[in-house]
Symmetry: C2
Subunit: 220 residues, 2 copies
């Protein structure tokens, strides 16, 4: 059952591993010890063959006809996903999205601790959101360095996003979740994921139009 | 150059079509008439072969050695994505995420009009967010029916999400964007996309751990 290391798999595998992790946590809480890929797939509306394929990139986790050991697979996924440690995160921008992120309780449950929120609005500085202080943006450099922050969430207007990203990277941040509706250009060794909420509505619009008069089909 | 209708392609293709659409809009605004898949790929950090493959599911849009006609491809993508019409959307939940969605100006630019926000908090009902009224949740059924709303954004706590989704579907909504950190079970003919913001941070955690001591690689 040694971990296997393959070299190529799609990005969407990582997202699905998160879903497997959640479903397994739920099974574990309910005292269930083993689960088949079929049962896990039924729960998540994902094909069992997809689950087996996704997991096979990382190792042999199940026994044929026996299913997966829930606790063992949870532990392995925790390691694979990098959730076996805590991450300190800063949020830049105390607007609605920044506030929503600071209030998102699931982050802390997964080991993502929001250390501070930065803004340049004097009226916001000094206040708190969900117990997290809003600090002056001018101090972000020192704060990131002193607290060895590696991750940041950018929730500022599009026009400010690149400058904020550059400052974060200069200070030592190496992973960024970007909510600003603009692509930021960064050094290759910085990981940046963008969340463009409009693309989600566009995907729904696509599906709705498709269901009405188009023939294209999707596989997941 | 007739539209081709293929029957199987991955979900991620739809999301990339949105990105192509944005990049082409930007080129069009700057007065650029043609673009190669290589140039488009360079702009978006997506392989040119991926772009050609994605577009090939829907038709022949480029001439070999000539690149794509920007205006023509824009028009076709608009049709394919279902953006050649307006969509009326309601938001359920006037908390931080609901407010962030109501303030997300890109929605309106793409033809997604937020018709109303629903909440059951008396202190919020009657107020507006970004010009959109907050209405009593008890009236959602009538409002959706009278205004023939097809799309909804769920931004309520996990515990309330399933009941809200059921009510929306009963009233006639057929597409849902779900921000509640829980899977909702719906009829097959209802389209539901979930946005679980924690999975994004988990993906970053994965990439960060990977870059440190793991060997698995990703292709996009």
């Amino acid at each position: 059952m040694a971990r296997r290391k393959k070299y190529k798999f799609p990005k969407t595998t990582i997202e699905r591993l998160s879903y497997y992790f959640r479903a397994l946590e739920d099974l574990s809480k309910r005292g269930i010890d083993t689960v088949s890929s079929e049962a896990l797939g039924g729960k998540l509306n994902i094909k069992s063959s997809q689950i087996r394929k996704d997991l096979s990139y990382f190792g042999d986790f199940g026994k044929r006809g026996m299913g997966y050991d829930v606790k063992y697979l949870l532990k392995e996924l925790k390691y694979i996903l990098g959730l076996d440690r805590e991450w300190s995160v800063v949020i830049v921008g105390a607007g609605h999205i920044g506030a929503a992120m600071a209030n998102y309780d699931s982050f802390e449950k997964r080991g993502f601790n929001i250390a501070a929120i930065f803004d340049n609005d004097e009226k916001k500085i000094g206040k708190e959101i969900n117990g997290t202080p809003i600090l002056p943006y001018d101090n972000i450099d020192d704060f990131v360095k002193q607290n060895k922050i590696e991750m940041a969430i950018i929730a500022v207007p599009a026009a400010a996003a690149q400058a904020v990203a550059d400052k974060l990277v200069e200070s030592g941040v190496t992973a960024i979740l970007n909510f600003a509706p603009v692509a930021v250009q960064l050094d290759e060794n910085v990981r940046c994921l963008s969340v463009d909420l409009t693309t989600k509505l566009e995907a729904l619009a696509y599906y709705m139009s498709y269901s009405q008069d188009k023939l294209w089909k999707i596989y997941s």
